[in-house]
């Protein structure tokens, strides 16, 4: 791959002919004119992921998912060679935005993809709108992201989809009173809001809404409060890594023996780390759109191929978001023979296919994903911990959009 001549800073500022001439001159000087021509055949995707920092595991899973799809389905499609440009945004929104701009302006990518966290997707939305570049959100899960730009398509999931399904399940299973305990950041607050709304509409009672600061992982006082409130269940959403500590202290404090159940958003028992969480998580009920234990031929093939390509790593919902996101792009490139912009976006909308997660559909109106939500229980199968699916709620649209 021919790297854009970074040494000339003028390229990024001066748009138009002079810069292009300089570029060409530079290329000619270096005798690189030929690769530069061949590059026209390339269909470039800018994949922006948090590869370092606290969310590095998100980036790793996403990239592995994307690469697996390309490895399985070939990187030449519709006469174009798909080229990935992977960039690390360290999970900082201003960095994501700057990288998105660079990718669009300097590298001339035709699709922006990735986006590990909600703020990262929001920061980049204006870039997609202004440059008319389709942007595929493969991870971030806040409901309103797809409304931030008409160029955004999502292949991950939305928090309201998951927690409203969980609220319905809880009501059906004789859970009348809950205490909600979420981490005090956007997805946590989102899940608290949508869960409580649905649960109260169903006739349930939310005794207490607790928000744990991101930086204070000792759950002792919060869990003591939960215990004293004596709910039927604890509803929780915390970032995956923190979930381990929460579940351990939950058991240590004897809440399970006090008859309190745990129902959680599925990221808490993230497949990536579930097996290391220990027996404390056994029996935890969660709702999510993907479990590596999903029982289908497509998923078994996916999990097997993924674990072969990435030894020691189990695919989680991030990997599937990347895999399916790449599928959406791949198929759209095939259908439009590499045309970018509007045509590509149109070809992404309305795609229906079977993902490792089960049937899935990109809603043409909202550009958001419609898929099954599964209620799962953590069980030990063949010596390892898995999220076993126990119930399916078919074709869930994002309730955040159904207003």
């Amino acid at each position: 791959m021919w790297n854009a001549p970074r040494p000339i800073p003028a390229v990024s500022f001066v748009r138009g002919i002079p810069a292009r001439r300089r570029l060409l001159a530079m290329a000619a000087c270096l005798g690189l004119a030929l690769p530069a021509m061949a590059q026209d055949n390339a269909f470039k995707i800018g994949l922006i992921l948090p590869m370092t920092g606290p969310f590095a595991s998100t980036g790793k899973q996403l990239e592995a998912g994307v690469r697996l799809y390309l490895a399985q389905n070939g990187d030449t499609v519709g006469g174009r060679k798909i080229t990935l440009i992977v960039k690390d945004d360290t999970g900082a929104p201003d960095v994501t935005k700057r990288i998105a701009q660079e990718l669009v302006v300097n590298d001339k990518v035709q699709v922006l993809a990735g986006f590990g966290l909600t703020p990262l997707a929001f920061a980049s939305a204006p870039v997609a709108t202004q440059s008319k570049t389709p942007l595929v959100v493969m991870a971030a899960a806040t409901s309103t992201i797809t409304e931030a730009s008409p160029w955004i398509v999502r292949s991950s999931f939305t928090v309201p989809q998951v927690v409203t399904a969980l609220a319905d399940w809880a009501t059906k299973n004789n859970i009348r009173k809950v205490v909600s305990l979420v981490t005090d950041y956007a997805p946590g607050i989102d899940s608290e809001k949508y869960f409580s709304q649905r649960f109260i509409t169903n006739g349930g009672q939310v005794l207490e809404t607790l928000r744990v600061p991101l930086r204070s992982p000792d759950f002792a006082p919060f869990l003591q409060k939960v215990r004293d409130a004596q709910p039927d269940a604890l509803f929780t959403f915390v970032p995956a890594g923190v979930g381990t500590a929460l579940m351990k202290q939950f058991a240590e404090r004897g809440l399970d023996k006090a008859g309190i159940r745990v129902i959680a958003e599925g990221s808490v028992t993230d497949d990536d780390i579930l097996n290391g969480m220990g027996d404390g998580v056994l029996g935890t009920v969660t709702a999510h759109h993907y479990s590596a234990a999903h029982d289908s031929a497509v998923n078994r093939r996916f999990v097997q191929a993924f674990m072969k390509a990435n030894p020691g790593m189990r695919p989680n919902f991030m990997a599937v978001g990347g895999y399916d996101g790449m599928r959406v792009i791949h198929e759209a490139v095939k259908a439009t023979r590499g045309a970018g912009g509007e045509a590509l976006l149109a070809a992404m909308k309305g795609q229906i296919f079977e993902s490792p997660r089960g049937p899935m559909f990109i809603d043409a109106q909202t550009r958001d994903v419609v898929h099954n939500i599964y209620i799962r229980r953590v069980e030990r199968v063949k010596g390892e911990l898995w999220n076993t699916e126990i119930e399916t709620i078919a074709d869930v649209k994002d309730p955040g959009k159904a207003r």
Binding site: T52, G53, P54, F55, A56, S57, L210, R211, P213, R215, S216, P217, D218, A220, P221, F222, Q224, K225, A240, G241, V242, T244, A245, K248, Q249, A251, E252, R253, G254, D272, I273, G276, M277, G278
Partner: protein, 289 residues
Amino acid sequence: MPTLVFDGIAYGMLLFILAVGLSVTLGLMNFINLAHGAFAMLGGYLTVAFTQRLGVPFVPAILLAFLATGLVGAVLERLLYRPMYQRSHLDQVLFSIGLVFMSVAATDWLVGSQQQNVHLPAWLQGRSEFGGGSLGMGHYRLFIIVVCALLVLGLQAILSKTRFGARLRASVDDARVAAGLGIDVNRVFSLTFAVGSGLAGLGGALGAEVLGLDPGFPLKFLVYFLIVVAVGGTSSVTGPLLAALLLGLADVGGKYFIPKLGAFIVYALIIALLLWRPNGLFSRGGSGR
């Protein structure tokens, strides 16, 4: 309510073990070592490695973590810290905060950014309840309290009763005169620094279960260490102990009774305390100094 007090004490004791090493290096050696948390993190990661990779039982593992971290501390003291003793406090702060960032990045690179899990032996899991459930004591938290109490007694005895304690206090008061009396000041400092780092490692080893352990650990808890040292003063072992207990109780109580303000209560309390006694609760020579 008794449960809450118990939790607060356990949390405070943990903070004490984590911070006491810093109080030793800062108070006795007059060196500002913001990288203290990095040693704590090292202790935590070593414990995870010992128990899970090498199958060492938990208690020997935390002792090994203490020794290994102390050893690393001694080596770093010789190579990196000693030249910094004579420099200004600003230089020391910049130097040690640089070390913190390097340790964060290095840990991230070596073991990844995910949370580490410590697997406790069965006898440390579970809890006992007294008074009809009004006092529930988690066994692990009880263990922390016991370890901490032993540490306090031990440290106090070493500092006030032993020959080494006397040498250390002499070296701190006037290094030149102490050297003139035949005390090997460098060796005393080196040993003190090693023990301080080792204690941080022990704190990290014990704390991983309760506080979580990821590469951001030294930064996440830096503020807490500094609060313990700032409020407790650096002249004794009991000062930081009381400060840590106060901090633990306020933190746990605040989060329980006013969860919306939970994370903030501690800081408000510290601001109030420091306005009242700018030199800390137990500063040498009282509040007038």
